[in-house]
């Protein structure tokens, strides 16, 4: 085959004044603006573009469009680029894929010789012995993986997404699709027209007929004058529930690829038809192309596809291709008419080029074989909408059966006809789509609280009164009297499929899985019908009886970058965050929060708190503002303990359990006023507890008068902890007597702090030190923090982070929900059974907790390794002596700077829970060490004198 550039063609899309220089396998080539990579290479005489997956056979142009399985190339760091679709750009570095060492000398081509043994599924039947060799076999097989190369340094370039809510989305801008879009827009609908190719027009674009070109010009002008939004080089990749559409836009000016998510009121599917290859011996040889490929090459890119051609045609497109070839000076050696029952039996030649075509027993010298054997209806979007298309043998393709009413098909998918008939059907479809969209829009608007009130009644659901398109008879041409390639990307032949059916893999899905036919990058666009036909033939059944595979999304592949878009990962910070950053903080991500972990030396932070005073920013602590007369009832329901008699100014600790008795959250709640409380939750539990409380109030106790408002970040929360905390807080606080008697432990006061009104503080803390937890309005949070820092210079005030707090809470033996408890830890296991008041009427989880009281449960206990220098890794297991029997685990462990020894919390079987019990801890190193269960959870100050001070 010798392709070459023709003189300018009237329909070509080239700008011949702009030359683009690029590289192909390291060699320099030139093309024109408007060329695809493939057309530029073809014009330069290249005819081998890739090697096949299994047999490494040379492959050339087949369809010259997006779906061409032979035109996958690497462009720079972009693998698997469709050279039949990707427009040429200056400086592109294009390389062949799946070749070694080079496209023209491929050593693995030797596989062809063994082709008869490499039948479909051969690998299931071999490489089993010796078993130890399988990993080696596997590595060798993996080198046969097709496709391009990933460059792991590729940056995630700019991608973004867009939501849109058009009335009508038209998928496919051929003549029927354009007419549908125009008619819908004329009827007042907001229309989005999406075209897979680089320009609208469908098959008219590569038609050399003057009248077709006139129609195309007319349609383009009408589109330009309309309100229709047109996206080219874009694909509707999927239709999901409620007409939620994925659309990938490949030519956005700023995004590499943009994903558009459209909630279409009506979808019009007008993708046209895909030309189907014909199965015969040598059908994958370079030089065998579809009629559409021939016409595109000639009319769009001015490429002469060969010198001497055989045309196998069964339809008018094939006839038109023959005429185009003739017009541009390709010698027509023979026209073989499939409508007359004639067939092509084989394509012969050298490994890389066609030499002759055998048909009807004759051998015809030719360097080009153009095949027009029929069509595949790409019904994907209909399948995704739940339709089961049916096969019509008279037309030799599938047609829609019963799609939902908000999905309409037009164009070749719906039938055949003259251009006028197709246009008329498109227009009727557009009008129907607009009418139905109006009904949906009315309903949506009427149901939506924020929307403008609707006018009048909902429009009636328009019946489908379109004049159906006819169906042109077409011979059923799938396989000739020889075997050939069915799936070009997977190297699956008709012979493989027949063999699979005989072996029992005789349903389409089993055969597909066994042979991998239709599993490759074109996902059945070219090969599904031929696959089904081969199985039907082997079973002696019709295509309709065998059925078809399911077309799954996406319709066309899209990049992970487009799907990911601009990755939105919200992060939260407190108002004090700028101070932390300016003061050498080491942050830790906790949920979405960026939190101070420490400021360089957590042990020093602990010592400073124990001896002087420290500040920690605990803003993420969950805070719920509760107002209303029924709060005590609510608290009694949510917590395991009692809340009826909490006086104003007091705070109390509570534990929440879920309905299965498992510990859910804990925290303190304070009574700020008569009907005003503030509940705190764990930081990680804040969102979940809020939803849980709302659920109780809205569904189980809707008559209770309580308003719950999340105020977590309305306040910054600063815990001031240490022996000098009172002194420090006193220096900046107005209006509160901080003396121990006036403001004792577990009480709350409203205060003005550092000149900021509306703060409240309570005397609690996780550290075990004298603590004032100040909650200040967030807009002044940084000011309050800085005021405390300034005021405490002489007291040795310093910040401490989460790590310091974790150490101090462990010294005090406070458990952390989710760390020291797990998904099965029942309330009593925490050791807080006295806080589980089974004499209340009701509370969440009460029955399970009542039954648990009689059960022997694992317990949370404090543990100290007998060697004070051994700090077991958290999750170290507690085992029985030298056995492997698990009796518990270490849930928290740290070196205590205060005690100068290692300290732990753990969960142990009840038999080990008593103070003084010796346990064996299996360190992660494998060493077993002895440890002692303590009498109290608190390793330090078990009487709690410091915090009450």
């Amino acid at each position: 085959m010798t392709m070459s550039r023709l003189g300018p063609q009237p329909t070509e899309v080239l700008d011949r004044s702009t030359k683009l220089r690029f590289r192909w396998n390291g060699k320099r080539f030139d093309g024109f603006e408007g060329d695809t990579i493939a057309s530029a290479l073809a014009a330069a005489g290249e005819h081998v573009f890739s090697r096949s997956m299994k047999y490494h056979r040379p492959r050339g142009i087949l369809t010259a469009d997006y779906w061409d399985p032979n035109l996958m190339v690497q462009v720079g760091d972009d693998p698997n680029v469709r050279a039949g679709n990707r427009l040429l750009e200056a400086g592109m570095d294009v390389r062949a894929q799946n070749v070694w060492p080079s496209l023209h000398r491929d050593i693995k081509a030797a596989n062809s010789l063994f082709g008869r043994f490499l039948t479909a599924g051969f690998y299931y039947k071999t490489f089993m012995r010796p078993a130890w060799l399988w990993p080696t076999y596997e590595r060798v097989l993996a080198t046969f993986a097709p496709g391009g190369k990933i460059d792991l340094d590729t940056p995630h370039r700019y991608h973004d997404k867009r939501y849109t809510h058009p009335d009508v989305v038209v998928a496919g801008a051929g003549p029927a699709g354009i007419e549908a879009a125009l008619a819908a827009a004329a009827a007042g609908a907001r229309v989005l027209l999406v075209e897979h190719e680089h320009a609208v027009g469908g098959h008219l674009r590569y038609s050399s007929s003057d009248s077709d070109q006139a129609v195309l010009a007319e349609l383009r002008a009408a589109l330009d004058a309309s309100e229709v939004e047109v996206l080219t080089n874009s694909t509707v990749t999927g239709r999901y529930e409620d007409n939620w559409l994925g659309i990938v836009q490949r030519n956005h000016p700023i995004a590499v690829e943009r994903l558009i998510k459209a909630r279409a009121k009506v979808l019009v599917a007008a993708p046209g038809l895909i030309e189907r290859p014909y199965v015969f011996s040598g059908n994958d040889r370079p030089g065998v192309i579809t009629s559409g490929a021939a016409r595109r090459l000639i009319n769009l890119w001015g490429v002469k596809p060969g010198e001497r051609a055989v045309v196998f045609t069964a339809n008018s497109e094939g006839d038109a291709a023959a005429a185009d070839l003739d017009r541009v000076g390709v010698e027509i050696a023979a026209i073989i008419d499939g409508r007359e029952g004639k067939r092509v039996s084989s394509a012969q030649g050298s490994s890389r080029a066609l030499g002759a075509v055998v048909a009807g027993g004759n051998r015809i010298e030719a360097d080009l074989l153009v095949v027009a054997a029929g069509w595949t209806a790409p019904t994907s979007l209909l399948n995704m909408a739940g339709d089961r298309p049916v096969h019509d043998p008279a037309t030799a393709r599938f047609f829609p059966s019963d799609p939902p009413g908000n999905v309409l098909a037009t164009g070749g998918l719906a039938g055949d006809g003259t251009l006028d008939e197709l246009r008329a059907h498109g227009a009727a479809t557009g009008r129907l789509a607009a009418q139905r969209a109006a009904a949906v829009a009315h309903r949506l608007q009427a149901m939506t609280a924020r929307a403008r009130p609707v006018d009048g009644d909902e429009p009636a659901w328009a019946p489908d009164e379109r004049t159906p398109l006819g169906r042109d008879p077409h011979p059923e041409l799938y396989r000739s009297d020889t075997h050939g390639m069915v799936d070009f990307s997977e190297d699956v032949g008709s012979k493989d499929l027949v063999a699979a059916a005989h072996e029992g893999y005789d349903s389409v899905e089993l055969a597909k899985r066994y042979t991998t036919s239709t599993m490759g990058p074109s996902q059945g666009k070219l090969e599904t019908v031929n696959t089904v036909a081969a199985i039907a033939e082997a079973r002696g059944e019709t295509i309709a009886q065998v059925g078809t595979t399911v077309w799954r999304p996406p319709y066309a592949p899209l990049t992970l970058g487009a799907l990911a878009g601009r990755v939105f990962e919200p992060v939260r910070v407190s108002s004090i965050h700028p101070w932390h950053e300016a003061n050498g903080v080491s942050t830790i991500i906790a949920g979405q929060w960026m939190r101070p972990d420490h400021y360089g030396d957590p042990a020093a932070e602990v010592r400073n708190v124990r001896t002087n005073v420290g500040l920690i920013d605990v803003t993420p602590l969950g805070k719920l503002d509760l107002r209303g007369p029924d709060i005590p009832k609510l608290l009694n329901l949510l917590y395991t303990n009692k809340w009826s008699k909490l006086p104003v100014g007091k705070v109390r600790y509570g534990m929440m359990c879920a309905e299965d008795g498992v510990v859910l959250d804990d925290g303190v709640t304070g009574r700020l006023g008569e009907d005003h409380y503030l509940m705190t939750t764990t930081s990680s539990g804040a969102g979940g507890v809020w939803e849980w409380v709302e659920n109780w109030l809205q569904t189980e106790r809707p008559d209770w008068k309580v308003h719950v408002t999340p105020v977590t970040t309305a306040y910054v929360s600063i815990n001031v902890a240490g022996p000098k905390a009172r002194e420090l807080v006193g220096r900046v606080t107005e209006g509160v007597d901080l003396s121990p008697d006036a403001f004792p432990y577990m009480e709350v006061r409203l205060a003005t702090v550092a000149g900021v009104d509306g703060c409240f503080m309570w005397r609690i803390g996780f550290t075990g030190e004298l603590s004032f937890e100040i909650h200040a309005p967030s807009g002044h949070g940084l000011h309050v923090w800085e005021a405390l820092m300034d005021a405490g210079q002489d007291l040795g005030v310093g910040p401490f982070g989460l790590e310091g707090q974790r150490i101090m809470r462990l010294e005090k033996g406070h458990f952390i929900v989710g760390q020291d408890t797990d998904g099965l830890t029942l309330g009593p296991s925490t050791g807080l059974s006295p806080l589980i008041k089974l004499d209340k009427d009701d509370f969440a989880g009460m029955p399970e907790l009542a039954w648990a009281a009689d059960r022997s449960l694992p317990m949370i206990v404090a543990i100290q390794p007998d060697d004070p220098n051994v700090v077991p890794d958290e999750a170290s297991q507690i085992v029985r002596g030298n056995t492997n029997e698990i009796l518990g685990r270490i849930t928290s462990a740290r070196m205590s700077p205060t005690l100068g020894r290692s300290i732990c919390l753990g969960q142990v079987e009840p038999e080990l829970a008593a103070g003084g019990t010796k346990v064996t801890v299996l360190l992660t190193s494998g060493e077993r060490v002895s440890a002692t269960v303590m009498d109290h959870h608190a390793h330090f100050d078990p009487a709690g004198e410091r915090l009450r001070g």
């Binding site: 973004d160 997404k161 867009r162 939501y163 849109t164 809510h165 907001r190 000016p253 700023i254 998510k261 909630r263 829009a441 949506l444 608007q445 939506t448 609280a449 924020r450 929307a451 403008r452 601009r566 939105f568 990962e569 919200p570 992060v571 939260r572 910070v573 407190s574 108002s575 965050h577 700028p578 929060w593 803003t619 503002d625 107002r627 209303g628 007369p629 008068k705 308003h707 408002t709 999340p710 105020v711 977590t712 970040t713 309305a714 306040y715 550092a754 000149g755 900021v756 009104d757 509306g758 309005p777 967030s778 807009g779 002044h780 949070g781 940084l782 000011h783």
Partner: protein
């Protein structure tokens, strides 16, 4: 608003700002915001006079948003907001009504310009058409994965969208909005309020 010390915005990074442009993003977090809750259909609801999904302007430049069933956000100049809230004092004492100052809990950003809907459709799945989100509409939705209260309040000219989010997300959301608006020539407005 507390007079002293000054309100610190959640937006702490500095941006080149301008006083006008075709598409503007403005930080108005310092604006007073109150949250009012009452029974739907009660006397207090009547006084708020902004059913869920809608809004109204009140005297002195206050803006009342029906942000959820039985919930209203009242925003605007502090004294005007106070007046609206104070207007609830007279309702039947058996009705359960609460109000709290939410100024510090929420960031508030304004997006103004004819391209604002095109910018917002990059970060939020709501339908911004005039039929579905007319002037005065109020909704809650995820914006760049942060749940926000949104109100449309067209001034004299271009559409304006008020976007409220939890204060702690403020800096993140501000940056996400700048990113979304970049292709439309978004300018950062001078802080107001």
């Amino acid at each position: 608003m507390a007079e002293s010390p000054a309100f610190e915005s959640p937006v702490v990074r500095s941006y080149e700002s301008s006083s006008g442009g075709p598409l503007m993003l403005t930080d108005a977090s310092a604006t007073t915001k109150w949250l009012v809750r009452a029974e739907t259909g009660g006397a207090a609801a009547d006084r708020m006079d902004a059913p869920f999904g809608s809004s109204r302007t009140a005297g002195g430049g206050a803006f009342v948003m029906g942000s959820r069933p039985g919930e209203w956000i009242v925003t605007g100049p502090a004294d005007a907001v106070a007046e609206v809230v104070a207007g609830l004092d007279g309702v039947d004492s058996s009705e359960f009504v609460t109000a709290l100052d939410w100024t510090h809990g929420r960031a508030l950003f304004l997006v103004t310009g004819t391209d604002a809907p095109r910018m917002l459709e990059k970060v939020c799945s709501l339908d911004w058409s005039d039929a579905m989100t007319p002037n005065g509409a109020v909704a809650s939705a995820s914006v760049a994965k942060v749940t926000c209260d949104i109100a449309r309040y067209d001034g004299d000219s271009a559409p304006t969208y008020m976007i409220f989010c939890d204060r702690s997300f403020g800096q993140y959301l501000f940056d996400a909005l700048i990113d979304a608006g970049d292709e439309f020539g978004l300018a950062v407005g001078l802080p107001n309020g």
